[in-house]
């Protein structure tokens, strides 16, 4: 019974580290070095599994989170919805150590270099919100593309609304 349990944990251990060694070898070593060592290995395996699960959960959560945030014309103000969406991103970012790149965009109306500045103002608004809420400054990079990379090239209110955005990457 106990041997079987150790064997199972060892298999998990092997998977968690993706070392790919044969389960028979792990089983042999566990039996040969005694219960204490097996216990340590089991605990470590469990801890690693938990970490892997958390990372997977974070990745899954991040994948489901909104990563494009929209703005009103000539504005860089974060709406209540945007702030709520960013709070969810912040919760995930706090459990990770990844860097984020914030790409600011503008719609086609007005001049290109002014829109470049407007895109930066939007990216900075998001960056400042992340930093104020505990994300380290060095992890946040901003860049503005102005009106150079529209998602929708039409000249309609709906297209312009799609293009006034910050993308978190």
């Amino acid at each position: 019974m106990k041997t079987k349990k150790i064997q199972l944990l060892s298999v998990i251990f092997a998977f968690a580290f993706m070392v790919g060694c044969a389960s028979n070898d792990a089983d042999d070593s566990a039996v040969n070095t005694g219960d204490a060592a097996a216990q340590d290995a089991a605990e470590q395996a469990a801890a690693n599994k938990a970490a892997a699960d958390a990372a997977a959960a974070a990745a899954a959560a991040a994948a489901n989170l909104t990563s494009v945030f929209y703005f009103d014309f000539d504005q860089a103000t974060l709406s209540a919805d945007t702030r709520a969406e960013l709070d969810a991103q912040i919760a995930v970012l706090k459990n990770a150590n990844t860097k984020v790149r914030l790409e600011g965009h503008a719609d086609e109306r007005g001049t290109r270099e002014y829109n470049m500045a407007l895109g930066e103002r939007r990216a900075n608004a998001v960056a400042n919100y992340l930093i104020i809420n505990g994300i380290e400054r060095y992890r946040v990079e901003t860049v503005s593309y102005g009106e150079e990379r529209p998602i929708n090239s039409a000249s309609t209110d709906a297209a312009w609304a799609e293009n006034r955005r910050v993308e978190l990457k």
């Binding site: 930066e120 503005s144 102005g146 150079e148 990379r149």
Partner: protein, 428 residues
Amino acid sequence: MRVFLFIVVALVLSSPVNAELTIEITQGVDNPTSIAIVPFGWQGSGIPKEDVSGIVQADLFRTGQFAPVDRDDMLSSPQQQSEVYYRDWRALGVDYLLVGRLIPSENHMVAQFELFDVYAEKRILTGSQSGAISDLRGVAHGVSDRVYEKITGIRGAFSTRILYVSAVKQAAGQFKFRLLQADVDGAGEEVILEQSQPILTPSWAPDGETIAYVSFETTRPAIFMHNLRTGVRQQLTNFKGLNGAPAWSPDGRQLAMVLSKDGSPDIYVMDIATRQLKRVTRHFAIDTEPSWMPDGKSIIYTSDRGGRPQIYQVTLATGYEERLTFEGSYNARARVVPDGSGIIIVHKGTGDYHIALLNIDKGSIEVLTETALDESPSISPNGAMLLYATKYQGKGILAAVSLDGGVKFRLPSRFGDVREPAWSPFLR
């Protein structure tokens, strides 16, 4: 009352197969000057590679100030004064007559030409224009420059080039960007740079061979300096944040630009020789789109420090700043006309974004265009016309308007969107 003269004929200027730009004149002046440009004589073997007099005719037609006579209506084909019978031309109501002939020598071509005032029955100009045999278009533009100046008193700008940017969509938010140069009539197009990252704000140095522009090739904006003759290319800036809106000083020694490295977008001036930067504006609002006044002593720029984008002027020696525009909710990207009397701006009053002329002394704004989403005006070196970018039938195109608003034409692109025209200085 102005009678709009819509010339619906699309004038495809015998451009090379892959040229992106064609020209459609949409509005000319009320009473254009009638001119007959007789096909030039040819003294070489075979046939010339370009129709030189046809190019001269297209040049003059494109100004909107001239109505060239149809070749089929001509009663004779003189090539020099001794063959000119004024009655043939008076019968057609022609004001001016241009005749000439092309004489090839070893490696170059000479165009000898004579211009006549038909009513005075007088020859008013004789000249010769030479160039490489491979550059017959250049020879033709040179003739156009001389004829235009003789009749209008304004230096011709037909021998100039334009820079512009094209973008071809690859996927949502993904484009192929190209920086191009072409003759001002769209011919002789060459690709300067092609990449998947944005290219913006091409700007000519006064030498007519050095340019500056913004490229995102490093995944961030950076200002580059590029010599079109030698191909030598240098990255001038690599600061955190914006690196944009390069504008050459009138003496070509300094480059004004926008950097946001110190927090918000401000105007800076870089000394090209030493690469030293001097900060010009200092405000938490957006300051961008610098442009030099002709005397090089002050810079005009866009700022939204008053809440909305408006044009300001800063005197470099003192740092004194002054707001220049008060009419309209959006005034941006100013460019001074060559004589300094006015400023061309992107202006939004109650309607769409248009190109407008601000009279500096009177403070009045005159709207010059009626197209939609107009931007990026660039004035010809003789101050007669300006090129700008607009949207037409869902595509970004270049268009032109005379500074008095009387003449308009479009340069639609056959591929993708074109934008950000920059008209070169005089090149010879």
